[in-house]
Each structure stands twice: as structure tokens, then as C-alpha cells.
Amino acid sequence: MKFQYEYHGQTYHLELISAQGGYAVSLNGRLLDSSLSPDATVSAVRQGRQVWVHAGGRTFVLRRVLGGHSGSAVAGGEQSLRAPMPGQVRSLAVEAGQAVQAGQVLLTLEAMKMEIRIQAPRPGKVARLAVAEGDSVEREQLLVELEPEAE
């Protein structure tokens, strides 16, 4: 999975890659050290294409210019939520027909030793759950469908 961010006029190319049963991240083609700042106090939040990060006592506002899996889309019309990477469905948090808020967790995947929360990109109603707990899923496999947005 590739991402591209801008911060103060500079562009950062990131790639999330599977490695030794876990994951690794490369920045501009170079592998990042995964043991960075082990005692860092980090907070982050996403708002549209902006990602706000507090790390090392400083605040950074990054703008995503490329990438993001379908589950992280912020566009209002998003209907099909897909797996960002291969993994296993750990738990379902909603049922078909249920109304959900933007940001509400729909299901969680376990992949690359991470727990990934698939969230609703907009308010709406769950049309269909395409997977069950324990299912193995491939990257880009359909997970949840939302009902089309009402006009």
C-alpha cells in the first residue's frame, strides 16, 4: 500500500509492506526503523485528507495527496468498504440494516499483527456484511456495503 504526504512543501512517499510475519514501512524507498522512539508519546487523528500528529512534543499537520485504502475514504459517497491488506476478521461490530455514524467501527481485522478498525466513512445504514468472524480475507476483498446515500 502506498501513501504520499505533504508537509511544509515537502513530499513523503510511504509504503506499507509485509515483512517477516509483521509489517514494515519504507520512506522514499528506504526502510524505516520500527524501533523508533520507543518511549514517545504520540497522538494522531485524521480529518479528511489531513492527518494531525503530536509526536516528540511537536505538532505536525500532514496532507495526504495519494493513497489510502477504500475503508479510509472520506468521500461522502463511499459504499463498498474493502480490506486494506490480507488478514483475518476478528470481530463484527454491526449488523445488516443497522444505522451507523461517520467514524463508527464496523468490524476489526487482524493483519500484520495489527488490529485494524474498519470505520464508516459517512453516516448511513449497513446494507450487507460480506464476511463473518474468523474469515480470512485478501487485500481489496469486500467487507461491508453501505446503503447508497439518500438524496
Binding site: F3, Y12, L14, L27, V42, S43, L62, M114
Partner: protein, 497 residues
């Protein structure tokens, strides 16, 4: 004590000072009533007070500056007293009189004292009579010819200043006599537009000066005390950024002299309640000069509270209720060192433009010696209608170096995401060797910090951004505890609540 005279206070303000006053009311067992504009519906100050009344549209002239609406709200709520905070109507003598005319108490000085200090030309005259040092200057008849003659006597550089002014409006620094005519014309024009009066005064201009002010507190029986100084030399365009007490510049002699001068200034206008006498100090000659008196509580009052142990806002309420000061000047001490910094919604990397947004994540550290006076909580929206002050962080420590270190730590540990703010800038300002050395003047920030740039993006920040993309809503909201999500897969479950 005040409960015998009044039990309900209307707070004619917004933001952190309205929150602060509401808390002081609660501490004293008084009911507080907030007012708000439509832009502030649901704001922290309306949630902190016991009751909240809408005034009108966002424009200040239709809400926080609208005297009739505020008075109507006060009467509707059953308030018997009005606290004006700072800014808005706090130094408006007409409003103070209007409050009293409807039978309510004004939590502030007498209107006559406000009026006397609000007129800069008159205040200069009063200070000269009271023996309070003022900068060499001129406050007489102000035809261009008379001003020119006076200017040649004062010497250059000098300041052309609106007599009715304040806050730097209608003010021009003139270094070259040839520029005087133009400066007089433009200052007059601006003074007329800003204050409805084109009267001008002249003052010698100190190119390098320290801003040191003295807090005073007086009761209705003429007991008038000073609560020592605050130094506020770290400013940007006359906007204070960092304030501290004690001043690193003053010695005991100068402190005593300035305290006595502040009391003389306050006494000359029959001052009652809390007020601040501001001085400029020439660092070379160590002489100090009266700048103005602020006839209200100030933004930076907490540093005085921390070093003296006195709650100034509570004392404002108690004095208004007729209570007498139970201590004398000799009972007061400055203990330790306190520093405040103002957290603004502004972008220091883009000309300090005010910023709007939503506080998506907000967490202040809970460390010993840190006081947080907030204007908002997590989830609150920061609009663009008013002063962009978000919060004040104030530390109290044994000495200045410890206080500086504690404030930098507090800034680094404070999390505010969703609104661009100045906390990184403040960390770098406080880390400047000249600031650490106490070598400050009012032009320091503009001279030394103009080229400020935010920190380089770190790899940790990129990791965090990626994790957010993976659907982790937030990594860690327990900022008080160092914690690493990176080598612990369990941590990716954080943030569910």
C-alpha cells in the same frame, strides 16, 4: 461574605476569562450567569456557568458589546452584580455607570477612575501631579505647529499617540523630524476612526524597553496594596505572549520604587478593586515610566496569584461585596517564580494568522505546579469571530530556570490536534538563550523570532500518520504517561472510548 450583598453574578464576557470568573463564583458559593453570542452557543464558558443567556449574532457589536442586551440578560437572570472580565466592555465607564444605574454592582473600579485612566492625555497630567514618572512628552493643545515645537523639545525618536487610545491604535513612531507631519496626519486620522477623538499626545520613544507592570488591589475603605510586578516583555505587536513574576530585571530597590509609584497612581484616581499599572523600564538607565493603567483584571493575573497565593478574581468579587482586605502590605510575599504563556489559535509559520478548526484531540498534562486556564475542551469548535486565545498555561516553581523548564515540558506534553496553534513556537521562544538569561525587551520576539519555522517532520510522525490511515482512530490519549504503540501490537486497540 459577598453573599449578603449579592448571590448571582452576570459575566459579561466569553472565553477563558468567563470560565475563570464562573469558577471563582462557584468557589465563593455564588451563582454565575454566562452570556453568549450565537457563535458561542454551547461554548465552555456557557457550560461552566450555572445559567447561560443568548445575546445575539456573532458580531461583538450585536452581542458582547451590546450594553442593552447584556443589561437585559442580567435583569432577567436576577443577577445583582456584573463582572466584565477583560476586553469588550471592561474599560467602558459608560457601561459601568449603566450597570449601577439599574441597581447592580459593578465588579471593578469606580467609573470615574476608569474615565480618568482611559484618557491618556489626562492620565499623563494626573501622573505628573501624583509624582509618578512619565516619559518626557507633551499633552497640551495639539495644532500641528504646537506639536512640532513640542517634538523638537522632546527629541527623536518619539511616539505620536492618540489621547483616547490604547492597544497601539493611532500610534506612530517617528525617528526623523521630516516624517513628523505625515505621522501626525495619519495618527490623527486613525485616532478619529478608532476612538472618535482626534486628540494627540507626544511621548519620547524608548527603542529598547522592558514592560513591567504592577498589580494593585484596593478595598472600598481606602486600603490599597500592590501585589508586586509582572514582566511582560515578550510581546508581538503589543500582544503579550509570555508573562512572569518576579521580573528577572528588578532588584528590591526598583521593586519597592515601582510598587510605591503604582500605589500613587492608583490613589490619585481613587482606585478600588483590582487594577494594573503598566510601566516601561529603560534597561540602560534603570528608570521606569508610567505607560497606562488597566482598570480591570488582566489576562496575565494568574502569575501574580501563583506567587502571592491570593485569588485575584475571588478578591474582585469580595471587594465588590464590601469585604475589607484582611492583610497589609508587609504581609505579602512573592514566593517562587511563575510564568504564563498564551496558547493562541494562530499559525506562527504564516504571519500568525488566526486559525479556526475543531479540537479533535485535546489533552493538557497533569503535572505538579502546572495550572491550565482553558477556553475550550476536546470537541469544541474554534471559530474566527473573536480573540484566538485558546488557553493559558501557567507554571509555578522554586526559581525561574525551573519554571522555564516546567513550562517548556508542559507545552511539549500538551496535545491539541485539529486547530493550528502556537505551542511549538512558544517552546522555541522559551528555549532561546536570551530568554533563559532574562535578557528581554518588547521588540525581542519580532527581532529574534521572525524567521521561525516549524520542526522537521519526524519518522515517528509518519508512522503515526500511517497507523491512522489503517483505521486506528487515535493511538494514545493518555499523554501524561509515556507510552509507545510501536512495538506493542496490543496498543492498536487503544482509542475505543
Amino acid at each position: 461574605m459577598p453573599s449578603r450583598v449579592f448571590d448571582t453574578v452576570l459575566i459579561a464576557n466569553r472565553g477563558e476569562i468567563a470560565v475563570r470568573v464562573a469558577r471563582a463564583c462557584r468557589d465563593l458559593g455564588l451563582r454565575s450567569v454566562a452570556v453568549y453570542s450565537q457563535a458561542d452557543a454551547g461554548a465552555l464558558h456557557t457550560r461552566t456557568a450555572d445559567e447561560a443567556i443568548e445575546l445575539g449574532p456573532a458580531e461583538a457589536s450585536q452581542s458582547y458589546l451590546h450594553m442593552e442586551r447584556i443589561l437585559a440578560a442580567a435583569q432577567r437572570s436576577g443577577a445583582q452584580a456584573v463582572h466584565p472580565g477583560y476586553g469588550f466592555l471592561a474599560e467602558n465607564a459608560e457601561f459601568a455607570e449603566a450597570v449601577q444605574a439599574v441597581g447592580m454592582l459593578w465588579i471593578g473600579p469606580p467609573a470615574a477612575a476608569m474615565r480618568a485612566m482611559g484618557d491618556k492625555a489626562g492620565a499623563r497630567e494626573l501622573m505628573l501631579k501624583a509624582g509618578v514618572p512619565v516619559l518626557p512628552g507633551y499633552q497640551g493643545a495639539d495644532t500641528p505647529a504646537q506639536l512640532k515645537k513640542a517634538a523638537s523639545e522632546i527629541g527623536f525618536p518619539l511616539l505620536v499617540k492618540a489621547a483616547a487610545g490604547g492597544g497601539g491604535m493611532g500610534q506612530r513612531v517617528v525617528s526623523d523630524p521630516a516624517e513628523l507631519d505625515e505621522a501626525i496626519a495619519s495618527a490623527r486620522d486613525e485616532a478619529q476612526r478608532s476612538f472618535g477623538s482626534e486628540r494627540l499626545i507626544l511621548e519620547k520613544y524608548l527603542a529598547r524597553a522592558r514592560h513591567v507592570e504592577v498589580q494593585v488591589l484596593g478595598d472600598t475603605q481606602g486600603n490599597l496594596l500592590h501585589l508586586f510586578e509582572r514582566e511582560c516583555s515578550l510581546q508581538r505587536r503589543r500582544q503579550k505572549l509570555v508573562e512572569e513574576s518576579p521580573s528577572p530585571f528588578l532588584d528590591e530597590t526598583l521593586r519597592a520604587e515601582m510598587g510605591a509609584a503604582a500605589l500613587a497612581a492608583a490613589r490619585s484616581v481613587g482606585y478600588v478593586n483590582a487594577g494594573t499599572v503598566e510601566f516601561l523600564v529603560d534597561p540602560d538607565t534603570r528608570k521606569f515610566y508610567f505607560l497606562e493603567m488597566n482598570t480591570r483584571i488582566q489576562v496575565e493575573h494568574p502569575v501574580t496569584e501563583l506567587v502571592t497565593g491570593l485569588d485575584l478574581v475571588q478578591w474582585q468579587l469580595r471587594i465588590a461585596g464590601g469585604e475589607l482586605l484582611p492583610f497589609a502590605q508587609a504581609d505579602l510575599r512573592q514566593s517562587g517564580h511563575a510564568i504564563e504563556c498564551r496558547v493562541y489559535a494562530e499559525d506562527p509559520a504564516a504571519g500568525f494568522l488566526p486559525q479556526a478548526g475543531q479540537a479533535l484531540r485535546l489533552a493538557w498534562p497533569q503535572t505538579a505546579g502546572l495550572r491550565v486556564d482553558p477556553a475550550l475542551e476536546q470537541g469544541d469548535i474554534v471559530g474566527g469571530s473573536y480573540d484566538p486565545l485558546l488557553t493559558k498555561l501557567i507554571v509555578h516553581a522554586a526559581d525561574r530556570q525551573a519554571a522555564l523548564a516546567a513550562l517548556r515540558e508542559a507545552l511539549a506534553a500538551s496535545v491539541l490536534l485539529g486547530v493550528t496553534h502556537n505551542m511549538d513556537f512558544l517552546q522555541d521562544l522559551l528555549a532561546h538563550p536570551k530568554v533563559a538569561a532574562g535578557d528581554l525587551d518588547t521588540g525581542f520576539v519580532e527581532r529574534k523570532m521572525a524567521e521561525w519555522q516549524p520542526a522537521e517532520l519526524t519518522e515517528v510522525a509518519l508512522w503515526a500518520a500511517l497507523s491512522i490511515e489503517m483505521g486506528v482512530s487515535h493511538l494514545n490519549n493518555q499523554t501524561a504517561q509515556p507510552y509507545s504503540p510501536w512495538d506493542d501490537p496490543q496498543s492498536f486497540r487503544l482509542g475505543g472510548s
